[in-house]
Each structure stands twice: as structure tokens, then as C-alpha cells.
């Protein structure tokens, strides 16, 4: 357990590394011996069928649930499970962006970026000019919201689904998260919106952070990730570096996997 706030620029190889993580819910073995390491500026796509263990793995990494066994290292230092929690994960600069319902619809953008972590004077009054300025800077320079008629004063209800994901990602980047976890950010979005989200994910990479990207759609994640990790029934069954497999090969691999799974299930 680290006592001090970790330095962003500190020397570490992996932002997070798991060793032999297993988790059982009664008889159901949700995770079985997961070994996984995420580099400090790596975008890792996490794919797999429903119930493969993607969400469970994320929950373990972000302190929502504790595994039955296994070790976790954050910035190469071992984590003490008894002290690991969601709050601790936040303190260690892990941020999860959920698919929806993380923005106040009727509120202006600048409030949404800072809510819960406002810049205030000592009487609790918000320094609005400063929050606006930072929000505009974030929009223009980090997220590429140029010439789309959006500024810090736009209300969220005027934004498209993809732009909303962008704001949530931008918020995580502003608060200096070193690892941003995206839980299916493109679900229920139109194609043009998906493209925006993928651009935002690239901006995570460009800003030097790491990202775990859970995705159903293989095409999205294949084009984007440095590495793809395939989960199947609680195990990692493939760890594919970018360029090792074409989308077609990957698709075939997953279909075969599914069929072999059923064969095993029957047999």
C-alpha cells in the first residue's frame, strides 16, 4: 500500500498488473487465474461474450469487489486487498466512465466537468471564470471540440451521445487519471457518434494515459487498441497485439471459440 499520492511521472512499467486473480461466487467461477498487465500508455481492448468476466475483472481492478485469490500491483507496487476500495482506486487515479447517466442534463458543461471537485474559495463559492476557462481549454485543445457550436456554457441536453461520452472522458483526463476504464461507451450510438467516441479514446492515448476499453463491437476495438485481451468463461484465452490478427481472423477466432465452448458444454 502506498502512503503518498503517486507521482504521475514516477518510474513504473505497468499502471496495473494482476497475477492469478480468481473469483468465485459460490459454485460459479467468475474469474480463473487471470494474469494481465497494462502498460502506462497502452489502450487495451477487453472483449468476450456476455458473462465472460469482463465486468467482474474491471470491478476487481477498481476495488468494487475483492477476488478470492490473486495479487494486484498498481504502478508495480503490490496492493493490500484489505485497504483496496473504490475510493482508494480513485485516489490512485483510476477512473471508470460508465455508459450513461454520469452527466447532469440541464447543467452547463463547465459545471459537469467540475461537479464534486469544484474550484472554490475558502467559503465554498465557485470560481466560475476559472472553471469556464479550463473547460473551454479542455474542449478545444484536448477533445477537439472545435467549430461544433459547443462551449463551456452549452447544456448537456444539447450534446449528442458521442459528445457526452467525450465530456465524461475529458473530465477523467482533466482530473489526471492515469487509467481510464470505458465500459462499452459506444452502445446505442449512431455510427457518426461512434467515430467521435473512438477519437476521444485516441486522445486518451495521445495524452499519455492508459485505457481499458470494454467493447462488444469487434470492429471498433480492433481498429483502436494496442492490444486485445479475449476473455472466455473467466479465463484469458488470447492476448493479441495490434496487427497480429486481421478483423476477419479475429472474428473467426471468436466464433470458433464460442462453438468449441458449446461443444464442451454439451460434452
Amino acid at each position: 500500500m502506498m502512503d503518498k499520492q503517486p507521482e504521475t511521472g514516477g518510474a513504473y512499467q505497468h499502471i496495473v498488473r494482476a497475477e492469478g486473480i480468481s473469483l468465485s461466487y459460490g459454485k460459479i467461477r467468475a474469474l480463473q487465474g487471470i494474469d494481465l498487465a497494462i502498460g502506462r500508455n497502452e489502450i487495451v481492448g477487453l472483449i468476450g461474450d456476455n458473462g465472460a468476466g469482463k465486468s467482474t475483472l474491471i470491478k476487481v481492478l477498481t476495488g468494487v469487489v475483492r477476488p478470492t485469490s490473486g495479487k494486484l500491483y498498481i504502478r508495480d507496487k503490490p496492493v493490500d486487498w484489505t485497504h483496496y476500495s473504490v475510493r482508494e482506486a480513485h485516489r490512485l487515479r483510476f477512473e471508470t466512465v460508465y455508459q450513461e447517466k454520469s452527466l447532469g442534463e440541464k447543467q452547463p458543461l463547465w459545471r459537469n466537468i467540475f461537479v464534486g471537485r469544484q474550484i472554490t474559495n475558502r467559503f465554498g463559492f465557485i470560481k466560475v471564470a476559472e472553471e469556464r476557462r479550463i473547460a473551454n481549454d479542455l474542449l478545444k485543445n484536448q477533445l477537439g471540440f472545435r467549430g461544433v457550436g459547443i462551449d463551456a456554457d452549452s447544456t448537456i441536453s444539447k450534446l449528442s451521445g458521442g459528445e457526452r461520452q467525450g465530456i465524461a472522458i475529458g473530465r477523467a483526463m482533466h482530473f489526471d487519471s492515469d487509467l481510464i476504464i470505458l465500459d462499452e461507451p459506444t452502445v446505442a450510438l449512431a455510427i457518426s457518434e461512434v467515430r467521435k467516441v473512438l477519437d476521444f479514446v485516441r486522445s486518451i492515448k495521445a495524452s499519455g494515459r492508459a485505457c481499458i476499453y470494454i467493447e462488444h463491437n469487434l470492429a471498433h476495438v480492433h481498429a483502436l487498441a494496442d492490444r486485445l485481451i479475449v476473455l472466455d468463461r473467466g479465463r484469458i484465452v488470447a492476448d493479441i497485439k495490434s496487427g497480429e490478427m486481421t478483423l476477419e481472423e479475429l472474428t473467426k477466432f471468436l466464433i470458433d471459440l464460442q462453438q468449441s465452448g458449446h461443444a464442451v458444454g454439451v460434452g
Binding site: Y98, K101, S102, L103, G104, E105, K106, Q107, R111, V115, G116, R117, Q118, T120, F123, G124, F125, I126, V128, G144, F145, R146, G147, V148, G149, I150, K158, S160, E163, S192, K196, L198, D199, R202
Partner: protein
Amino acid sequence: MSTHLPASPARRPTRRLPLAQIEGLPIILVFLVLVGLFIVTAPQVFLHWPIYLSFLTTVPPMLVLAIGLTLVVAAGEIDLSFPSTLAFSGFLFSVCESSLGNPWLGVIAALAGGALIGLVNGLLVACIGVPSIIVTIGTQFFWAGTASILSGGQSNALQELDGSVVYTVFAGNLFGFLPMQSLWALGLAVFMWFILNRHRFGEHILFIGDSRHVARVAGINVMRETVKLFVLMGVLGGFAAVLLTLENLNYFSTQGQGYLLPALAGVFIGGTSVFGGTATIVGTFFGTFIIGMLEAGIVATGIAGFWVQAIEGVVFVAAVTLHLLMESPGKLKQLRALAGLGGRP
């Protein structure tokens, strides 16, 4: 990949006019039109100062309540118990004066009594999760009843306070003509504008009103902020009770009656969203003055007094409908299409 997002044609960077950014502008215009209308129809009354000075003594208690309600409604809650705060806190004030001879202790007791009412409301709403409309209907009955029991239903004349310091501070006339309660109400309105729009607490209220779930995800302690909100409303109710009791120099156990609907009407006429998440103190300010002015204005124009409520009702429904339509342009489009005014063919 381009770093620029494709511009969607539906939303153009239509530069808003600087004028349109003034908070509560529509309701300010309605207010001015109404004053103009009264000046034309009843010049003998509305071209002279006394009527306006009289508004400055009658409206402030209602305004103090409406300002508190604006924050409550912004959080997506409602408080219907404030008329009983006027009674209960008014009783505490009067009893401190008549039994202990200490009106300043009375002011503190009135504020504390209001805080207690608010605390009970807040705990029931935030911690147990009873809808605020239900809780505050119940507590309205309870505290109004308690005030009646404690005072034995008797009124309590406080004539001895006339000219005292406490009277001068809260209900006297500055420079011999400007009612002090109007300055208190104005100061409070400005202060609460800053709390709502510039303070962390106000932002939390707006997010809670927007969506409880989002507020929680953003790290807002929804329970604590909701309790604080109701306590604030209670304290403001207690303050309104002090202003009202001192202005009348009399306490009577039914003194809160007649404030419920006008104060709420002031908030909604002002443009605060019925659904929570947005609120305007400026709107409430002018909305409350509109409500406070209507009665005297209508009577002064020579229309028989029994028209007053009907006209108030029309103004209220029209204002709220208009605000709703402005809030969601989609509905406005539907309406236009319905009226055949260049909607869909």
C-alpha cells in the same frame, strides 16, 4: 481520422443575443407590462408612491418564502409546510417577547423553530425517502396544530414593540419611508442568488434536481445536502414569520394561511422548472411581486374584487405553460404544427 468533429447541422453556433442572457428577462418584461397596464387603467393609484411602498411591506415575507422554495424546487423537492412555520415560529417569537420580554431571543427562537421544522422534513425526505409532498403536507398539519395548541388559539398583541429596536431593524422605515423588510428581502435575494449560482451547495442542489443518480455518481452527498436544504427552507420560514409578526405587531395562530399558494405561484411564474434542475432567483423575485401586485392592481382598476383570484389563476397557468414551452422547444414545434403555423406539412 480528423481531429475536428463533424459539425451536425441541427445545432449551429447561434450567438445568443446579449439581451437574451439576462436571467428572468421574460418575467421582468411581463412585470413591466403589468405595471404599465395598471398605470394606464388606474393612474390615480399607480402614478403615486404610496401603492409601491405598500407593496414593499406586504410582499417581503412572501418573497423570503419564495426564495427558499426556489431552492427546494430546484432540487426537485417541494415544501408545503411553510405556512405552519409562519405560525409556529411566529408563536415562538411572540411568546419570547410577551413572557420573557426579550424580542431578540424571540428572533433566534423563531429561526431555530424553523430549523427544527426543516430538520424533521429533511430527515423524513432524505433518510427515509418519503416523498417531500407527502411529508410536508403532514408536517404542515402537525406544526400548525402545535402552534394552535401552544397558543390556545389566542392571538397575542405585541403593540409594545412599536418603535423598539427590533421593530426598527426589521419593520421600520429607513429615511422615514423605505420599509426595512424590503431591504432584508432584497439582500436575502442577492445572497441566495450567489448561493444558488455560485456556491458549491447551490450546484449540488441543481444536480440533485437534475438527477439523483448523477449527483451520487458525481460524489455529492445527496442525503446531507437534502437535509441542509430543508433546514435552510425552515430557517427562511422562521425569518418570514419574524417579518410578518413584527409588521402586524400581532401574532395569531392562523397567520400562515393564505401564503401557501401565492408563494408557490411566485416561484413558478418566475420560471423555475417544475421538474427541478434549473431555477431562477431573479424570476422568483419578479414573479412574487407580480402575485403581490395583482390583487391591489385589479381592485384599483375598478374590476370587482371577486375577479382577483380568477385572473391570478389565468396568469399563473399561462406563465407556467409559457415557461414549459420555452424549456422544451420540441413541444413548441408540436404546438405550432398543431396550429398549422409552418410545422410539418
